[in-house]
């Protein structure tokens, strides 16, 4: 970022639950300090003072599900120097990406009595499918400590950097006993990116992959292990088709599993 001037931050929302941008307000301790480093130029959820672009940093939450949004993101991109997506919706399409395995017309009419008024795409795609994304922050929702770290890094002119290893590393650091080994629970920790602090295993349940695939996400050996433990595709496919259903590593793994078992995908 340019030196001597506070970078101007803008927050934009697409199809999403608001949780990721709320994470910024959830950094209660750091919020005011962050505002000393960054100028909040456009953040509708927090301020009525909506300034026009160009912006130095745009945080984009949510996925693209309508034609209008597909256009809107182009404008945002051209108005922003650095575009960062926040959360599973923006980075992988979110839970609403499940529509790609269904019939959109049928889905819409299930929810709305007058489906003819609904204009929505048959897909829910990540921002990176539409424009160049400079940095992706994973999680459903993102971790607010990571969000603050990244913003501070940008404000100070550094390239943000976050760990991409598996949840297991954090799980062991906090002393949690591995559920796969001790209880035969299907846990996506080994193929899920760190960031949440390995909370699910610490609360006696398997990770459901809300931070998306880790590097590398070795889904094949893990899934065959789960099958050997007696878990059926019926359970494993939905486990992968959650908030990061359309993240390539999870999507491929789930599609392969259901194909192997003759399920329509």
């Amino acid at each position: 970022m340019a030196r001597g001037r506070k970078p101007r931050l803008a927050v934009f929302k697409f199809a999403s639950c608001d949780g990721c941008q709320l994470s910024l307000l959830d950094a209660e301790d750091e919020l005011l300090a962050v505002c000393d480093l960054i100028e909040i130029a456009h953040f509708a959820e927090a301020s009525s003072d909506l300034q026009p672009g160009p912006y130095d940093v745009a945080l984009v939450e949510g996925s693209i599900t309508t034609e209008e949004d597909a256009q809107r993101i182009l404008k945002i991109r051209s108005n922003s120097r650095y575009l960062m997506t926040i959360g599973a919706c923006a980075t992988a399409g979110g839970i609403q990406a499940l529509r790609q395995w269904g019939q959109i017309e049928e889905w819409v009419s299930r929810v709305y009595p007058s489906p003819e008024f609904i204009h929505t795409l048959a897909t829910s795609t990540p921002i990176a499918a539409h424009v160049l994304v400079d940095f992706e922050l994973h999680g459903c929702p993102v971790n607010h400590h990571q969000l603050v770290d990244v913003l501070v890094a940008l404000a100070e002119g550094r390239r943000p950097r976050l760990p991409t290893h598996s949840v297991c590393l954090d799980c062991k650091r906090r002393g949690t006993v591995c559920h796969v080994v001790s209880r035969g629970i299907p846990c996506l920790g080994p193929v899920t990116q760190s960031g949440c602090g390995a909370i699910c295993p610490a609360f006696d349940r398997g990770c459901y992959g809300c931070f998306g695939p880790s590097q590398p996400a070795q889904t094949v050996p893990l899934l065959s292990r789960f099958q050997a433990l007696g878990h059926t595709t019926d359970r494993l496919v939905p486990l992968l088709r959650n908030f990061n259903a359309a993240a390539p590593a999870f999507q491929q793994a789930a599609d392969e599993l259901s194909e192997l078992h003759g399920e329509p995908s």
Partner: protein, 434 residues
């Protein structure tokens, strides 16, 4: 003003989710008012179909990042009703505690960062912090307590991971909760101080003949259980929701809005409704505080809902402290169950008001049908009504469009509308009058 005029608030700010308002004026009278929601549909009710019922609390949480616990609570209660699961008193208390965390977080956020700036012409809580550094910092602390509680009990503040059909995945250890007590003792006092502060704000005059609706429980301030009551004398079990409330299609808009079934009239849910209908269930401290700050026993001024929110903040701090102090984990963390076909509904009190869920499940434990009616879709009609009344009264007095538009925005904000959760809202299409 020209004879026909369209006043637009393009983006409602300091609300959760995105929406706008459009007002059409003809011959100096309000022709119509629309709260526009341009949240793209995410089709939750459809994507739930075919999922295992145990996935429901995790998935429905994603409807709203501001009040995920509410979605988790309404969904687990409905599913438990369908399966005939009885939970333990401990699980019930912990669920109340979890809800306390969410109310604290959500109310402290709305009061300090979203709503209070309106009373001082500030654009944001951050700007307001320059004028009221102590108050805003205190508010952030309160908000943080809510989050710490959600983390201790739910694993994290947004989209907690510990809520299961039947109870919790794991009971928190005593130390995990007991550690919060000192903060909450401080917070209780701070919440009282915050209430006095907001009660001193200058409130615009506006009273409306509302029908308030909320849950009500004989022994407690309502969270997860109770009957649906209204200020017009309605008192029915939640299972009769559909007989008294209905989502309708309105002619000028394609949005689904909930109204009273027979009368087709709007109604009002949320803190103001709850406090009006459950004043007797408030603790002694909160009742005294309400009297002290001059909160009417039936308040009909929507701007004063910020006081209702603050009083509720005190109420849940007390409740949370009580549960925290008495917590000794024992018994199962969740009740076992066998999947079976069934249908049931439940409603709980989200920070923004009544949240209704209704599910059908098949014998393999998969969701066959889901229906979710969030608080904001119940308030939407009322918000439009308020705007119409307010504008009709003030159209002459205030000449500038900007002023009127920002008044409208302020009025909408009193409802703390949460638009991201509005699974039923549609994008409104416009035909401009030439």
């Amino acid at each position: 003003m020209s004879t026909t005029d369209v006043i637009e608030v393009p983006i409602l700010t300091r609300v959760e989710g995105e929406g706008g308002v459009t007002i059409r004026v003809r011959q100096n009278t309000i022709e119509n008012v629309q709260l526009r929601i341009y949240e793209p549909p995410r089709l939750f009710e459809a994507l739930l179909c075919g999922r295992a019922l145990e996935d429901t609390p995790d998935i429905t949480a994603r409807i709203c990042g501001i009040c995920p616990v509410a979605y988790q609570m309404s969904s687990v209660h409905a599913l438990e009703a369908a399966l005939g699961i009885q939970t333990t008193p401990q699980i019930r208390r912990l669920r109340r505690l979890l809800y306390c965390g969410e109310w604290i977080e959500s109310h402290a956020l709305h009061i300090h960062l979203l709503h209070a700036p309106d009373f001082f012409g500030a654009a944001s809580g951050i700007e307001l912090a320059q004028r009221f550094p102590q108050e805003i910092t205190r508010g952030l602390q309160l908000k943080k307590h809510g989050n710490r509680l959600l983390e201790a009990l739910g694993g994290r503040a947004i989209h907690p991971i510990n809520v299961a059909v039947g109870g919790f995945y794991r009971l928190p250890r005593r130390e995990e909760l007991a550690g919060l007590i000192p903060d909450f003792e401080w917070g209780l006092e701070a919440a009282i101080a915050a209430t006095r502060w907001v009660a001193s704000f200058p409130f615009p005059e506006l009273t409306q003949p509302y029908e308030f609706v909320s849950l009500s429980h004989p022994d407690e301030y309502p969270f997860n259980e109770g009957e649906i009551v209204s200020s017009q004398g309605l008192r029915v079990p939640v299972t009769e929701f559909d007989r008294h409330f209905v989502e309708v299609h309105v002619a000028h808009s394609t949005a689904l809005q909930a109204v009273r079934h027979e009368q087709r009239t709007p109604y009002f849910v949320g803190p103001l409704a709850r406090i009006n209908l459950n004043r007797g269930q408030l603790s002694q401290t909160v009742q005294r505080l309400a009297d002290e700050v001059g909160m009417e026993s039936e308040c009909r001024n929507p701007f004063r809902s910020i006081i209702a929110r603050a009083l509720e903040l005190v109420q849940v701090y007390e409740e949370a402290l009580d549960i925290l102090r008495g917590y000794h984990p024992s018994g199962p963390s969740r009740m076992p169950y066998q999947p079976a076909a069934g249908q049931a509904c439940a409603a709980t009190e989200a920070p923004r008001g009544l949240l209704f869920h209704d599910y059908q499940i098949d014998d393999a434990g998969k969701i066959r049908q889901a229906r979710i009616i969030p608080p904001t879709s119940q308030n939407q009609r009322q918000i439009e009504g308020d705007l119409t009344t307010y504008l009709s009264r003030n159209l002459q007095a205030k000449a500038s469009r900007e002023e009127l538009a920002s008044d409208c925005e302020r009025l909408v904000r009193t409802y703390d509308p949460c638009i991201s959760c509005s699974t039923h809202f549609l994008r409104v299409r416009w035909e401009e009058i030439p």
